[in-house]
Amino acid sequence: MDFILTGLQTAILLLLQGDAQTYSAIAATLQVTGYSMSISLSVGIPTGFVLGYFDFRGKRQLRFIVDTLMALPTVFIGLLVYALLSNRGPLGQLGLLFTRPGIAMGQSILALPIVIALSATAVEAMDRQLRPALISLGANRRQLLFGILWEVRFGILVAAVNAYGRVMTEVGISMMVGGNIKWHTRTITTAIALETNKGLFSMGIALGLVLLLIAFGVNLSLSFLRKK
């Protein structure tokens, strides 16, 4: 039990003293999750809107596939992206293996089905009076689209937070595609795994605390936005 308490004390010291190795992992994590969320939100929200708003042939089948992809194992995505980005793979010439953009690519694949499925659910659950209300107030097609997205913004925020939680806490993709290279592609989760393997609990706990703090910050902003 003592080693946990000692680890907690050392963790706080590491954070307060600005330990370079700890902050490098935090920076790497924030950067790759920033990239992956930008990609998954910009592609996922419009796709989710189309999937939730329009009726078209094959919609149910497509929805089934997207829902299934929400449960994709991170190691499988890691393996897939590794194969794509390795020298023998079709995207090998891009040189993205063991880079932060490479990890972001894998995390985007992880987050995209979550954003699409939950955005589609939010749009499907919108009040059926919203469309006639916006049209009757004079909205054109573009204004109708943005009006609906704004009205279902809480549902889309939930989609974004869920996706962020998933990419922030994944290990498989970061480990396989990033290679866990110190000062370069070592993220919070891969660092925790490595340091725990080495028996160095304090850094693992410090990074774990940071993960918790980020999750707390994201939920706090969500609650603030809901109040607005």
Partner: protein, 340 residues
């Protein structure tokens, strides 16, 4: 000179999931008129309003708005026609932004606050109190009035109101009536109002159209009688009423068919007619008398057993001393009964 109609509806059919919900051969709405739509649930009132607002497109047929084909999302449609839906949706914003939303879509930023305050006052809401309230801090009646203010602020040429008085208290109903009448007086709005509130419609509208199963039955009140009908053996059918009298009709297309007796087909007698000449006579108790503004006729509402009937009495009908509570006799020709 008769002005060009604002709406000209021809051969419009609309289906929902393959089932016809509206079938309208020809209907013309004149500018600056206030038309009421009345009818039971599922009679097509909301469908008609949605089609006129461009929210839905008819399955077949043509709706012309000011001479041109009504096209959803066209500027003429979205800037000149506004619909207050049956269950008005308030945007997840404050009341001020809800009312100002349509103005912002039209990029009308000038005097926006003044316009919003005026619209709220028009529907009887204190602008200082309500402007900063969020959408979720309103009662059902207040939400409806905010939604109406959001339409009135746009000063649309056509205002379509679907059940504007449902769930609203009596004082607010009066406010809505004043708002509707001032919309016509101030900027010449044409209005089509669907409601179940017959009395309110009569006070506000120039004409009230009766819809049933997607078709227009006629203007004003109609008498609808539901089966089952039983044969009398003489080619006629009957339905016993609670007080022992019989309502006699011509042969129905099916046992449970709905009969329509136009109120003009019912003749009112102060004394029991001695020789009815093939007409069937029913003894009735007068419940109410109202003036039908569009025709100048008296509209008599009487009860016969468990049945309420409406009869139109032309102005200056001699020999009738009608008062609520008095007994009268209603006669009609069973062959004039129509089947729906």
């Amino acid at each position: 000179m008769i002005p060009d109609p604002i709406f000209d509806i021809r051969n419009v059919r609309h289906c929902h999931q393959g089932q016809p919900v509206l079938e309208m051969d020809h209907l013309v709405i004149q500018p600056q008129s206030i038309i009421g739509l009345i009818g039971p649930n599922g009679s097509g009132k909301t469908t008609l309003l949605n089609l006129l607002a461009g929210v839905d497109t008819p399955t077949s047929g043509c709706i012309r708005f000011k001479g041109g084909i009504l096209a959803p999302f066209a500027d003429a449609t979205r800037f000149q026609i506004s619909l207050l839906p049956q269950e008005p949706y308030l945007l997840k914003r404050k009341v001020y932004h809800n009312v100002a939303y349509g103005l912002m879509l039209r990029k009308q930023y000038r005097n926006q606050a003044v316009k919003v305050y005026e619209a709220l006052e028009l529907v009887g809401l204190d602008s200082e109190d309500f402007c900063s309230r969020p959408w979720h801090a309103l009662s059902g009646g207040e939400s409806r009035r905010v939604a109406l203010a959001a339409r009135l602020v746009l000063r649309p040429e056509v205002l379509l109101l679907d059940e504007p008085t449902a769930g609203v208290d009596s004082a607010s109903i009066q406010r809505i009536k004043e708002a509707v009448l001032s919309a016509r007086a101030e900027w010449g709005a044409t209005m089509i109002i669907a409601s179940h509130d017959w009395e309110w419609l009569e006070q506000v509208c120039d004409h009230v159209l009766h819809l049933y199963k997607g078709r227009i039955l006629g203007e004003g009140r109609v008498n609808m009688l539901f089966g089952p009908w039983r044969s009398r053996g003489d080619g006629l059918h009957e339905k016993p009423l609670r007080d022992g009298q019989l309502f006699i009709v011509s042969s129905p297309p099916k046992r449970d068919a709905c009969a329509l007796v136009e109120h003009g087909a019912l003749q009112v007698h102060g004394l029991q007619p001695v020789n009815a000449e093939g007409r069937h006579v029913l003894e009735a108790l007068i419940l109410n008398l109202t003036l039908e503004r569009s025709s100048g006729c008296l509209l008599l509402w009487a009860t016969v057993g468990n049945l309420d009937l409406y009869a139109r009495i032309p102005p200056q009908s001699p020999g009738l001393h009608l008062l609520p509570g008095k007994t009268v006799w209603l006669s009609y020709d069973p062959q004039t009964v129509k089947w729906l």
